[in-house]
């Protein structure tokens, strides 16, 4: 099914390619979802270059991952459910990508979030390894524990996304309040209406949504946890497609972002900081998938640097999105393959020297590794360098992003190499009784395809001409073209710097982990404070937890017990109690003695008489 969708997408692409550049945007009218007053929301679809690219990536990668999943999930008893949800995801993702209306896009947006929630929580009662990053650091700490951690992770993902979604919602309200429509056509056509604060607010609110979905600061904490889902899910949703929806949203609504320089700066800044932060944390992780998760966060940061820069960076950002989809999908699937062959272990401390047992996995992973660290001529090299080049050219905040980006490139090279070396080379550290084995063909085939794409996609979509390249030509009409392209010379120079830094990072990793000679565990203990900080993810999760869970629950408990039961309900019961108390004391007057009663009669008479006589 998904493959069929891919085929249709390809066909549609060619149809699109057959048209003039400016006439390539088509809008497909669907039925009206709901209408209310001026608001009219219809299931209209937009088929233009941008959505075509996204649709291709989504359908293509998901076809491969479906194929892979057939092997990976072969033994699962609820695999029908799994595939149903996975397909639902693809559908939702396509809705997101193809939507012609903010609200329809939101439908897809939340739809993918739902599928993400469902799939992360797929193993709702399975005990899975929680790798302890402090293992072998503190004496007595176990390497990991087996816990059911998928449900909370799923919930966390959903909630973090919800925070972003509120941004999306409010942004939509603001857009509707400003231009009176939620159709892209109308909104972009009347983008001039967005000025000043409104523009900034709309853009930043949308970016909040992006930050939620694409795991940027401050909402990135859910993505590493999301690794509780089956690995194909991590590959598809949490690496290749869904998490890039934020980047896509910025690209799609670039008109709105261009209306606010502040918003653009924020996007770049957040992207750069996220890239750096995540790369740092990735260094300290021992969990195969979590390293990749932080890597994803980091790479998404690059993409946001790109799309935040304006016309100069849109295409590079999208370009990186595509290449990242390939190589990160491969990396995850490769990791899945490793887990598949190693009893679902994800602790890199337990691997080492897997290359002979898993040659196909190793080779394809090397290809993706090369792409992500930016080995020249691989896909990542082109796309990352285009972003960095654009940032450099953009100047200002871009320059900051460039510095951070280059440094992060070095970190990326380091932690990815660490991952590669610890897993596939050096000593065998796996426990006795385990027999690592290569995965079946149905799994290795997608690995091979993705590995290949990771190597060649960059080259195919780009040329080092200084003119942007094919992708730029294709997407230009939708995303706009920069005033001038960076010169080839400067591009080469910048690439050289980035590549050099990356090589440095990779080299350090080789020294530490590659030969198998250095005792990296001893080093870890020696630099314990630093390591612990990284391993504990800079304590960000703990701070978050304190502010949301601990304080939130305290507030809720305060409201539930003190305010609701004591104050509000207490007031109600108190009123009843007051009546009761008054009545009981009044009851004492009712003594049963005639003379008291007579006194009451006299008292009443005196009051009435006094009022009547003395008032007049």
């Amino acid at each position: 099914m998904v493959a069929a969708a891919f085929a249709i997408a390809v066909a549609a692409l060619f149809e699109l390619l057959g048209k003039d550049a400016d006439a390539r945007t088509q809008i497909l009218r669907g039925y009206a979802w709901f209408t209310s007053g001026d608001l009219r929301v219809a299931f209209d679809l937009r088929w233009d270059q941008l959505s075509a690219v996204m649709a291709l990536v989504v359908t293509g990668v998901s076809s491969l991952i479906h194929l892979y999943s057939i092997g990976y999930m072969a033994d699962d008893e609820r695999r029908e459910t799994f595939f149903a949800w996975l397909n639902l995801f693809v559908a939702a993702m396509l809705v997101l990508v193809l939507a012609e209306n903010f609200l329809v896009m939101f439908l897809g947006w939340e739809g993918v979030g739902l599928c993400s929630y469902l799939l992360i929580g797929y193993w709702f009662d399975r005990r899975m390894l929680v790798v302890n990053p402090l293992g072998r650091l503190v004496p007595g700490e176990p390497d990991g524990t087996y816990e059911v951690w998928a449900p909370p992770a799923a919930k966390k993902a959903f909630l973090a996304n919800r925070v972003g979604d509120v941004g999306f919602l409010v942004a939509m309200f603001l857009i509707f309040a400003t231009v009176g429509s939620l159709d892209f056509e109308d909104v972009f056509g009347r983008a001039a209406g967005f000025t000043g604060t409104t523009a900034t607010a709309v853009a930043l609110l949308l970016f909040l949504a992006c930050a939620g979905k694409s795991a940027q600061i401050p909402l990135f904490v859910w993505l590493p946890d999301a690794m509780a889902g089956p690995t194909p899910v991590s590959a598809l949703i949490h690496a290749a497609t869904m998490v890039t929806a934020g980047v896509f949203l910025v690209a799609r609504t670039h008109v709105l972002f261009e209306a606010s320089a502040t918003a653009q700066t924020v996007v770049v800044l957040v992207g750069a900081l996220t890239a750096l932060l995540a790369a740092l944390i990735a260094i300290g992780q021992d969990d195969l998938k979590k390293i990749l998760a932080y890597s994803t966060v980091s790479q998404l940061g690059y993409m946001f640097i790109g799309v935040g820069l304006g016309p100069i960076g849109y295409v590079p950002g999208m370009f990186h999105l595509i290449t990242h989809a390939f190589f990160k999908a491969q990396l995850f699937l490769g990791a899945g393959s490793v887990m598949h062959g190693n009893d679902d272990d994800t602790d890199v401390k337990h691997f080492g020297g897997l290359r002979p047992s898993m040659p196909a996995t190793f080779l394809t992973t090397v290809a993706a590794w090369a792409a992500i660290i930016g080995v020249p001529l691989t896909a990542g090299f082109y796309s990352k360098d285009q972003i960095l080049g654009a940032a450099f050219d953009h100047g200002g905040i871009g320059m900051f992003a460039w510095v951070v980006g280059v440094f992060t490139a070095g970190l990326t090279a380091f932690y990815m190499s660490r991952l590669l070396f610890l897993t596939f080379t050096g000593q065998r550290r796996w426990p006795d009784g385990r027999h690592p084995h290569e995965s079946p063909g149905v799994m290795t085939l997608p690995l091979a395809v993705l590995g290949l794409l990771a190597l060649v996609a960059g080259f195919l979509l780009s040329t080092f001409t200084g003119e942007g390249g094919r992708l730029q030509d294709f997407l230009g009409p939708v995303l706009g073209t920069p005033d001038e392209y960076p010169s080839l010379a400067s591009a080469l120079w910048l690439s050289a710097v980035a590549t050099g830094v990356a090589a440095l990072g990779a080299g350090v990793a080789w020294l530490l982990y590659g030969q198998g000679g250095t005792d990296w565990l001893a080093l870890r203990v020696r630099f314990a404070p630093a390591w612990r900080t990284l391993a504990e993810r800079l304590y960000i999760d703990q701070v978050y937890e304190f502010f949301t869970v601990t304080l939130g629950r305290a507030l809720a408990a305060f409201l539930a017990v003190t305010v609701d039961q004591r104050v509000l309900d207490g007031a109600v019961n108190g009123a009843a109690e007051l009546v009761g108390t008054a009545a009981r004391s009044g009851r004492r007057l009712q003594s049963g003695l005639v003379r008291s009663y007579a006194l009451g009669v006299l008292g009443g008479a005196v009051l009435i008489l006094a009022f009547l006589v003395f008032r007049s």
Binding site: A583, R584, R587, V594, G604, L612, V613, R615
Partner: protein, 509 residues
Amino acid sequence: MHLLAQTTAEPLPVPPIDWRAIAPELALAGTGVVLLLVVAFWPGARRSLLAGLTLAGLAVAAGLTAWNWDLARVAFEGAVSLDGITRYARVVLLAVGVLATLMAAQESGRPAPPGEVDREDAPPEVFPLLLFALTGMAMLAAASDLLVVFIALEILSLSLYVMAGATRRAAAQEAAMKYFLLGAFSSAFLLYGIALCYGATGTTNLLGIARASVDPTGDGTLLLAGIGLLAVGFLFKVAAVPFHMWTPDVYQGAPTPVTAFMAAGTKAAGFAVFLRVFAGALGGLVVSWRPVIAAVAVVTMLLGAALAVVQSDLKRMLAYSSIAHAGYLLVGLAAAATVPAGISASLFYLLAYAFMVMGAFMVVQYATRLGPPDSPDTKERSSLDDYRGFARRHPWAGGLLAVFMLALTGIPPLSGFWAKYYVFVAGIDAGLTWLVVVAVVSSVISAFFYLRVLVVAYLQDPADAAEPVAGRATALGIALGLAGLVTVAIGLAPEVLITAARTAERILG
């Protein structure tokens, strides 16, 4: 009379007696005398026969009331006024009479304790007394002269004192004594009020007082003092705070049929005369007395409701509830002088209330029959605990209990709702919205205790495993059915009774 006539030089110009005007009262009193004779000369007469005769008398009175329906005049030189209030009050009182007769006709049906007469059953003389009391009430409602008011009040009071103490239970005797002493005390106040009014206006005739009140000699203070003391007397009879204190004790202590009769009948007659005197004759002084009535209404509504909440005896609770209801009626009275709807609202309220409250007491009587014969002297089966699971064991009586309680709460579509509604309308129309809001608060408090009865009867499990089987309750059953039916029927179709009440809005004398 003849003796005197012979001694005077010239024959007295005795005015023609307007027999027709007082025909229903005459029928009631006449039947009472007949019954007295029957009881005196045929001590073994069966209760059902006496009740039947009473009902026949009531039927005759009802026929005469219908015959007199369109009569509108002041008779006996202003002593009696035949107008809407009289007419409507007669209807209410006759209905009360029928229900009370049926209740009194019901024998406890329990074997008497060995060696003693049954303490429950009232002597056969209650039937004539009931008729005399009704006569007094009807005369009170029709009275257009303060002297007649006083005498009528005494007729009904004396009858009720005796009826309250007619059984041998200590509680009944205590009730009678308290009622009597306080009643006499308060009627002395009333009498003093009449004296001051007489002094201020030179007449006890309401028309005369009305004329004099708008054109007072002196500064009118004396008349105001008289009004105040009159109010004390009336407020005592209708059980308004702080003149209410006898009510719980008497209602609880008196035999249940008598209590029901008192609760509905006295209130009806009392408010009829209250309306006539205050809204009619003293309407010109409304500015002076309205604050008094309003203030009394406030404390009556609130205190009555609040004190009812903490009661554990159903009869006593109903007594406090009747105090609260007197408060609502006082709202109608406060409105009545300026808003005619106040009069019709009060009258309609009295009618609806009579059926509700008597129905509630009938359920008490029904339950009393079921009690063990050795129940403590002061208590009937009216402690709330006795009603645990009552509705489950007696679904029909329980259902009716629910109807009466909900009607008393004022839940639509039962009669109590329209009654309360109409009074509220009158109050708001008269600009007494604040008073109506107080009435709302009181209604909310009331809901607590009415619901408590339902809680006990419906939501709790029966206390004891089995109850002694009592004899048939034909008379009581008819009364219960009648009260329930009317309560529901007024709720669904109040139109006729409201229209009839509207015709009473013009007070003659």
